[in-house]
Symmetry: C3
Subunit: 258 residues, 3 copies
Amino acid sequence: MKFNNRNVFISPKAQIGLNVKIGDNTTIYDNVIIGDNTIVCNDCVIGEPTYQYYQHPDTYENPPTVIGSGSMIRSHTILYAGSTFGEGLNTGHRATIRENTTIGKHCLISTLVDIQGNCNIGDYARIYSNVHISEHTRIGNYVFIFPYTIFTNDPQPPSNTLSGTQVGDYSIITVHCCVLPGVKVGKHCLIGANSVLSRDIEDYSFAIGSPAKRIKDIREIPSKENPGEMHYPWPYNFERGMPWQHQDYNTWLQKNPS
Amino acid sequence: MKFNNRNVFISPKAQIGLNVKIGDNTTIYDNVIIGDNTIVCNDCVIGEPTYQYYQHPDTYENPPTVIGSGSMIRSHTILYAGSTFGEGLNTGHRATIRENTTIGKHCLISTLVDIQGNCNIGDYARIYSNVHISEHTRIGNYVFIFPYTIFTNDPQPPSNTLSGTQVGDYSIITVHCCVLPGVKVGKHCLIGANSVLSRDIEDYSFAIGSPAKRIKDIREIPSKENPGEMHYPWPYNFERGMPWQHQDYNTWLQKNPS
Amino acid sequence: MKFNNRNVFISPKAQIGLNVKIGDNTTIYDNVIIGDNTIVCNDCVIGEPTYQYYQHPDTYENPPTVIGSGSMIRSHTILYAGSTFGEGLNTGHRATIRENTTIGKHCLISTLVDIQGNCNIGDYARIYSNVHISEHTRIGNYVFIFPYTIFTNDPQPPSNTLSGTQVGDYSIITVHCCVLPGVKVGKHCLIGANSVLSRDIEDYSFAIGSPAKRIKDIREIPSKENPGEMHYPWPYNFERGMPWQHQDYNTWLQKNPS
């Protein structure tokens, strides 16, 4: 039904793995490297040239764009040249990811997410719809970022300083939050809806508000699903799509010390 | 000027009504049913296959996508297979609506709206730009949702529970609000800008804040347009695009008891 | 690498300047006028017809769409007919700008920005990702609007009144703000993250909160980059992309009194 090879353009300088499907109306530029068993849906642009191309079109060499095996790139996604994506990448529709960004394995970059370039995202991160990630943001492993949350980087706009933000492993930032320039969110944190993070958040904090304040330790939050138990750290209670799926988190952790 | 039949793909299994126009670069997949006098603009994808297609492409049967007559689908809209839209649907550009969603008649789903699937929206609802509606959201009739408002569904992220939200008939949720999981907004409510709705809101409430609190009954809010009168319930003062346009709301209500 | 003239449609009634490049899959409708040395990337729609076209396709005349010289329109941008853009326009991906809007010279309209029509933006404005600008908004010169900020216009929704907002020259509105209907932000203002602007803001104010309140005069804010100095008015400390770049702001100001 799909993949009719209609209006597809693939550069002869691209390297396409085995059993890769490329959707109609999709363009793949020079030096894109796509791993085996990946699906690139329709209307995508992969290896979009950087701004240097327009300045020096005759001498420009497109930097490599590497997409790991078993990935699923949904329609209308734009991936710039010079970025690297681990295996099992999963994008929503209309994601835009600019140059010099590294994203680990098995990440979800959902519909309308806008990653501005020069960012670093770990493994198994889930970035939900319409999250905006400005340059020089660093996001750890097993992190959840919910819709409309923003990572900023200019500490005194407009200025010539770029001060990126950081999010530690296992942390969760819920909807409509703003992470202000330079702020570091620790590991295993939970940030409530509509918060403005203006100061660093220490590990295992539940914080909320504008400006966000630490309310309690996340290990003190009772589970809504399992009365009488605690919900956080969440890996003990949630495994879908995580590397410890179908086994015990503790067992996995012993085999995979961080 | 438009509709030059350039790079259009229409599945032979689609059913296209009378006097339907299909824009350039648009793709219409299997089992799409489009009512008479509908316009599908350029660069759209109608009947986008669900995830099952990629898992079982040989045996996959695309579920029906039904679009009512007299609809206007603006460019770059993606409508998934398995969803049903009543007559007079009006989408903005780049709307994305996933599977198993039912939308009533004469609804506006504006630019960049992201509806995640398994949702239910009534008749004459107006969902403005960039609203995000997560799975299992239920929105009533004659509802207005303003830009950047989010409907969430995970009560303790990440968890295995999906707890959808509800909005009653005639309610208005203004810009930049978050409706937290499981919250029910009653009928004829008005929610102020940038609110976080963490508890149910009773009928006829004006509520605002984070968390949102009921400030007063909406029937106590004076009209800005007509000094000395009350503005709410708004159907007495606003009729554009509503079924009671060009007649008295009370008269219409007597003929159409809810 | 790009600009292979693949699936490009250019109306014979369009006027294309010298040394203009048009990307693959781009459509240019009647009466579009593009200045010299402009680049229109792939998958764009320029001169999108207004709603009148669908009502009267046989007699409809597309109003002129004017794009100044030296502009850079990134992929998937939609520019409606009847709008005018000064020289050096720079759009991000998937920007949408509707009809009867005038944008000055050297403006940035970034990724996913949604301008609803009948708006006026001055020169050298920078509108960052995902800003939503409703009808009848007026934005001055040298203004910065950061991601996810919204300009609204309905003072008592739903109503028949449109009350646009205004932003004065040199002002900065940071992320996730809501400018409520009819509000006027003065010149040289700075608005903090996640603010709701419900009242007019006087010149040189630093305001923040929901509702936003004036905290201090911006001229009292110490510089983070240059200890012991003040950061605002910012033109004394920031010149990238501004007309006073490579010269002294005071010198430029004397030659260019406002």
